[in-house]
């Protein structure tokens, strides 16, 4: 029974556990996220945020429990699911020895996009890099790389976008551009973002989740969140004054 894509839930995570021996990176994580929501995932280092994203993007298999993205199981329907999700990481995930255009064309081929040249042009314009299209990405600044990386993630028109600390290492101008790009696609996409930046994460999100030691400490829609209490909870998971 595959109700592929017709559910209103974007993410359906049930008792998700990821363990190797006694160490549990994820320990019984469960939550539901509606479509077109923006989920911010907070938590200290080693809380399991990256593991969660890797499981939800099919890069890692869960040890037990299930996760469905757009109604598709992360294990059984992995190939189909990859067609409908995108990842923007703090790593640009681009080949430094290819030009901007070649990078996008390469990934367009990987996603089997029809008439890739047109789509690539469109995206290069959208991220304001069409004047640098023939330059090797090796020569790009951090901000430009991140913009190109967004273009790469949007190539195949994914419905769910995963953001793994996309703001880290960006200068304020690049952050503004990134904000603008996210705002453009905000309304017809579901977002899952990992962030260390509490202000930024809360500003963007419609739902917030705090992970600690692989467990869900808190999962609430933005409206229900009392900021003071939320900050206190977050700080308690980080512990000992580290923020």
């Amino acid at each position: 029974m595959k109700e592929t894509g017709h559910t209103d839930t974007a993410l359906e995570v049930r008792d998700l556990t990821r363990a190797f021996g006694v160490r549990k990176a994820l320990d019984g994580v469960s939550f539901d996220l509606p479509r077109r929501a923006f989920l911010s995932v907070f938590g200290p280092n080693g809380a399991g945020k990256t593991t969660l994203i890797k499981v939800l993007t099919t890069l890692l298999n869960p040890t037990s429990g299930t996760a469905r993205v757009l109604g598709l199981d992360v294990v059984d329907d992995a190939v189909e699911m990859r067609q409908r999700i995108g990842l923007i990481s703090h790593n640009p995930l681009l080949y430094p020895d290819l030009t901007a255009e070649e990078n996008l064309l390469f990934f367009a081929e990987m996603y089997g996009i029809d008439r890739p040249a047109g789509r690539v042009n469109e995206l290069l314009e959208a991220v304001e890099l069409d004047h640098r299209r023939l330059d090797l990405t090796r020569t790009f600044s951090r901000g430009m790389l991140q913009r190109l990386s967004i273009a790469r993630a949007l190539l195949h028109r994914p419905e769910v976008l995963f953001l793994d600390e996309p703001y880290s290492g960006l200068d304020p101008h690049a952050m503004d551009i990134l904000d603008g790009l996210i705002a453009q696609v905000r309304n017809d996409h579901t977002f899952v973002m990992i962030s260390h930046d509490l202000d930024k994460g809360l500003e963007l999100c419609s739902h917030a989740l705090i992970l600690a030691r692989g467990k869900v400490v808190l999962f609430e829609p933005r409206e229900a969140i009392d900021e003071g209490a939320f900050r206190a909870t977050y700080r308690s998971t980080v512990g000992m004054g580290v923020s």
Binding site: F20, R23, R213
Partner: protein, 318 residues
């Protein structure tokens, strides 16, 4: 936990007793009618300098048996007597068939036999007249070598299980089996080198069995090098599992391909072992198996304890 350790200790004691019994047996029982068969296989081909290699081969087989009573079986018949000399034939090589002249003192006087290149020559050695001390190592060397292959197979089996299930226990089992392989491989190498010196007069020879075994040793070492150089625990387990499977596929290929080099390693012929030797050998083999199993159990017990400590630690952390 306790019963598992007890079982391991019992296995260790049984193994030790059997091995010791075999050890005594080799001197007081199996030694008496010391009898063995060394057979020279058909010459392997070599595109280069066939004559040189054949001379060496023939000398290794028969030349080392000067002073022993031998039975040389060739096309022309059987000659029994004491081997007086074994010399490479002058001018052999250029199309000449004979590569060696073996002089045997028979009841009717000395007789010189031409050992030819294309013949299968069997030299049966019996009634040594003096104990063949070098041969004693056979009761340890061969069982240990066989067990090293068995534990290697066990390691590969658990590696397959690990890749299928991703359960860490299989990784641990596979690793411990690999540690055992390492131990037995090292012992086989040590005993083998001693025997090579005693029987062939050299410590090492690039000969098929030895070469294959050397490669296997390197594969096992490589397994641990790989393990030690991967940080992430699960990745380490996966890589190690994949490599041990590849190594296990590679070992038999190495074994057979080395047939491209001519061999001098003795092979036990079916029915070639007299009962005293056979029984001693089997006892040694069973004893070694018990010892191997005991070490495996003890190491597993240790790993289980470590896991419990880890679990307790994580619980204490909250």
């Amino acid at each position: 936990m306790k019963s598992a350790n007890t079982r391991a200790m019992v296995a260790l004691v049984i193994g030790a007793v059997l091995t010791l019994a075999a050890f005594i047996g080799t001197f007081f029982w199996a030694a008496v009618p010391d009898y063995g068969t060394v057979s020279q296989p058909k010459y392997s081909f070599s595109a280069r300098h066939p004559e040189a290699i054949d001379e060496r081969l023939a000398h290794d087989y028969i030349g080392n048996r000067v002073g022993y009573e031998v039975e040389v079986v060739t096309d022309e018949g059987t000659v029994t007597g004491t081997l007086v000399a074994a010399e490479p034939k002058e001018g052999s090589g250029d199309g000449a068939d004979a590569v060696m002249l073996a002089t045997v003192a028979t009841a009717s006087g000395e007789q010189t036999i031409e050992v030819t290149k294309d013949d299968e020559v069997t030299a049966q050695i019996y009634n040594y007249g003096k104990p063949d001390w070098g041969q004693k190592i056979f009761y340890f060397h061969v069982p240990i070598a066989e067990i090293s292959f068995i534990v290697f197979a066990v390691a590969a089996y658990f590696s397959v299980r690990f890749i299928m299930t991703r359960k860490r226990e299989y990784d641990t089992k596979s690793r411990i089996a690999m540690e055992l392989t390492m131990t037995f491989v090292a012992l086989t190498m040590a005993t083998g080198i001693l025997w090579t010196k005693a029987a062939w007069g050299v410590w090492w020879q690039w000969e098929p069995r030895l070469t294959t075994y050397f490669i296997m040793t390197l594969l096992v070492v490589a397994y641990f090098v790989l393990r030690n150089s991967v940080e992430d625990e699960e990745r380490r387990a996966l890589y190690a599992a994949a490599f041990s499977i590849l190594a296990f596929i590679d070992a038999p290929i190495s074994f057979f391909i080395t047939r491209l080099i001519p061999s001098t390693h003795p092979v036990i012929e079916s029915g070639g072992l007299q009962p005293p030797m056979l029984i001693t050998f089997i006892i040694a083999q069973i004893g070694m198996l018990f010892v191997g199993y005991a070490i495996y159990r003890l190491r597993m017990g240790e790993m289980e304890l470590r896991d419990r400590i880890e679990r307790a630690k994580t619980e204490l952390e909250g």
